[in-house]
Symmetry: C2
Subunit: 357 residues, 2 copies
């Protein structure tokens, strides 16, 4: 069964139900968010993570924020509460692009709705906001599914697929990006095995991706990051599929640290390397990977492991969160619009500009 | 200060002092082994590790075993006790080649001594055994030092050196192999930085190598294994130096899992990759890396960390302990005899057969 990370339960008086990812894989616990504060806390503490999933949660957070309004509240008061909720939610993860995008979309939608329906009751505005949040959620589900449908052909029967970090259902409102490709191949009845890099320092691969794939009944082999190259050389791995955090206009792709190394090791061993990501991941304002800034994260992520210090006091740590894989080492980028084989600036511009396939 | 992993304190009535590596890096504790059982336990529980260090400990373990003899015991009885101690110590780590080698060497030495000195007292035999154990220890110290002297020229001023796992003083009776090269470069007054791969699953890099280098006053940066490639591409790393577990006749080198990937990433980025190891690491009975068997270790090493389960129950794990780096990707192999640049079967045969440089 493919994991459903989040679900809105009920109508405008309903609540948001989330898988609490902080407790995976040891425990599978659902969290019910019944007010905007609970959603904010869930995002802040990584109970929910992954850019698309955060965006959808924030949208539903706004629906929850509106529940505090009295039934006879006016539309202006409704808008005021909405804007306050937006500001509150925006503080939960200040660098999450999808979060701001979703908040803005709901706010704009509400403003337009009020301008066009000045005599509506607050309940009707609440319905409109819920409908827009549902639309964001459904678009994400559709996008995920389409990525899978477009990419499943790359998984051959008997394949050994390597993935890195978590680009799965847990990171989206749908069935993920890289993992969606696997889920669609599975639906076609194909048998294959997925090697999951544990993905140090935060172990999203071992903790989350392995859990999701297992839930879906796909054969999983967890490995340490430093084993992937050797398994490619041993022919255990026949393709690599990862997600992406940002893709430059020329196809250079920023993703979780370690992805660059996998792309080189895959090329060395004649193994195709695929990126699966929504078309919204492209940032055409960035010409090439050299322009993508790489976030440095805290030393503690590396040197404290399960509350145990694993390195001596006083040593330096380097902890880049991402690296950049060059377009020339990517066999194809799979989006909800289709597939860009051997990506370059021209093909990408055409892909993004052209009609959906 | 360069770490001294083990030391014999006193004469034939003395004891063996060891750094307890199980407690590093959190605590620096010395362990005093006063009987053969304590040495056996230290080897078994990895208080001491690294093939050369284990060999030397076992040799001193035999000296301890002889202490139970009465002053008026006969030589035959002495030999009997020695053989019993050998058998006991041999059970501590049944696959450690250096362990058997050291035990055999002491036993042969004692047998020869008895044959030539039939009227000697037991104390004189004990002195002979201690002298041979000291010789094994001093040869290891000399070997380590020579590797460093032969390799230090490869560390340029301002270099960023990457190392993997622990090929340091903690693994030998001397100043290590790969780390010896760094210690000798430091003695020449050269400033450089060492990037230390944490080395999953057992984290010997983060726990042991980082500790040793810091003790010696060398600048250390701990990284996760999946960051090394990206730091090479960023030009932070200018050379890679690792140890070796076994080197085939053609120069293919088995070392800790992850080493193969580093060799490919180094070549990709135009960075020289060096192996530092004693000439005893060559196994000429093995023609190439393809013939070296790769030990698979337990899944728990990967999925249980500091008593915390990091992956869901029921997933498979692949945990190869070693991989093989091809000779063509090794810029040079540094031994106590000298340097084999661009190693191949012919050069290796000449290096091993020829006089020490």
């Amino acid at each position: 069964m493919i994991t459903q990370t989040l679900k809105w339960v009920g109508g405008i008086d309903g609540f948001l139900e989330l898988i609490d990812q902080r407790r995976l894989p040891a425990e599978f616990v659902k969290l019910q968010c019944r007010d905007v504060e609970a959603v904010c806390e869930a995002i802040k503490t990584l109970a929910v993570r992954g850019a698309p999933a955060i965006g959808v949660c924030a949208a539903y957070g706004l629906v929850l924020g509106m529940q505090k309004l009295a039934a006879d509240a006016g539309l202006e008061q409704g808008l005021k509460v909405l804007v306050e909720s937006c500001e509150y939610l925006a503080s939960s993860r200040p660098t999450a692009a999808n979060l701001f995008w979703a908040l803005d979309r709901i706010k704009n939608h509400a403003q337009k709705f009020i301008a066009e329906n000045q005599d509506a009751t607050i309940a009707v505005l609440q319905e409109a906001i819920l409908a827009e949040a549902n639309a964001i959620c459904q678009e994400d589900e559709y996008m995920c599914r389409q990525i899978g449908i477009n990419g499943e052909k790359f998984i051959r029967p008997g394949a050994g697929i390597l993935t890195h970090c978590n680009a799965g259902a847990l990171a989206t409102a749908g069935q993920g990006t890289a993992l969606s490709v696997m889920f669609e191949a599975q639906k076609k009845g194909r048998k294959f095995k997925v090697y999951v890099d544990e993905t140090r320092p935060l172990l999203q691969g071992a903790r989350l991706t392995a859990w999701e794939l297992k839930q879906a009944g796909i054969e999983v082999v967890v490995i340490c990051d430093n084993m992937a190259g050797w398994l490619m050389k041993q022919r255990s791995i026949s393709a690599v599929i990862t997600g992406a955090d940002r893709i430059a206009a020329n196809g250079d792709t920023a993703n979780k640290i370690g992805t660059y190394s996998l792309s080189i090791l895959a090329r060395e061993n004649g193994i195709p390397f695929y990126i699966a990501a929504p078309s919204s991941t492209f940032d055409l304002s960035v010409k090439s990977g050299a322009e993508i800034p790489i976030e440095q994260r805290s030393a503690d992520e590396v040197v404290i492991f399960a509350k145990t210090k694993i390195a001596p006091d006083g040593v330096s740590v380097c902890n880049p969160a991402f690296d950049v894989t060059e377009a020339q080492d990517i066999a194809a980028i799979i989006t909800e619009k289709g597939v860009i084989e051997k990506p370059n600036a021209e093909k990408i511009a055409r892909h993004l500009g052209g009609p959906s396939q």
